[in-house]
Amino acid sequence: DTAVSQTPKYLVTQMGNDKSIKCEQNLGHDTMYWYKQDSKKFLKIMFSYNNKELIINETVPNRFSPKSPDKAHLNLHINSLELGDSAVYFCASSRQARLNYGYTFGSGTRLTVV
């Protein structure tokens, strides 16, 4: 049973389209995150939610909008996709927002914008 699951695993889409990535965790964790990993494997945090409340919102274009319907789910919607959005997007969760616990990552969504 996957602890943090993301769908889809692969996403190929044209510029200008709108797409969503879904994430669910069954660990009972309070905090969830979205990270973006570029082609050089550099990981950058995008958003964090704690019990459905947005607590971290990095300098991300407002075309990216996270939504957390409950603490087990954190989805990422991207409007007007651009070539530079191509990357692997990782969802993660942790027991609490305090950084005393390791994160559990999903397997990633590879987004390719053509």
């Binding site: 494997k41 550099f42 964090s48 607590i55 616990y101 390791g102 994160y103 999903g106 397997s107 990633g108």
Partner: protein
């Protein structure tokens, strides 16, 4: 801006040898974590070391932390082909965010 930088960027060793990776960071921390990422997979948490700890072990992994030098090292002993992966350090830095380093790509040759 990234908090940590790993060194070396890439490391190739033979099975059975030890692998050492280093991480340097810029600001004070509460703890430092190490993660492994196999090709095409998500990151897996390996170990967390708190700022008041100097060394921690987990199986074949040994992590050291030197807060005066703002550096940490990850030692994998008796490496196996299955240890082939990218290894990242991550720190909490000055903000309530986990910031990842640039990663070390480890290749263990059978």
């Amino acid at each position: 801006s990234q908090q940590g930088e790993e060194d070396p960027q890439a490391l190739s060793i033979q099975e059975g040898e030890n692998a050492t990776m280093n991480c340097s960071y810029k600001t004070s921390i509460n703890n430092l974590q190490w993660y492994r990422q196999n090709s095409g997979r998500g990151l897996v948490h390996l170990i967390l070391i708190r700022s008041n700890e100097r060394e921690k072990h987990s199986g074949r992994l040994r992590v050291t932390l030197d807060t005066s030098k703002k550096s940490s090292s990850l030692l994998i002993t008796a490496s196996r082909a299955a240890d082939t992966a990218s290894y990242f350090c991550a720190t909490d830095g000055a903000t309530n965010k986990l910031i990842f380093g640039t990663g070390t790509l480890l290749a263990v040759q059978p």
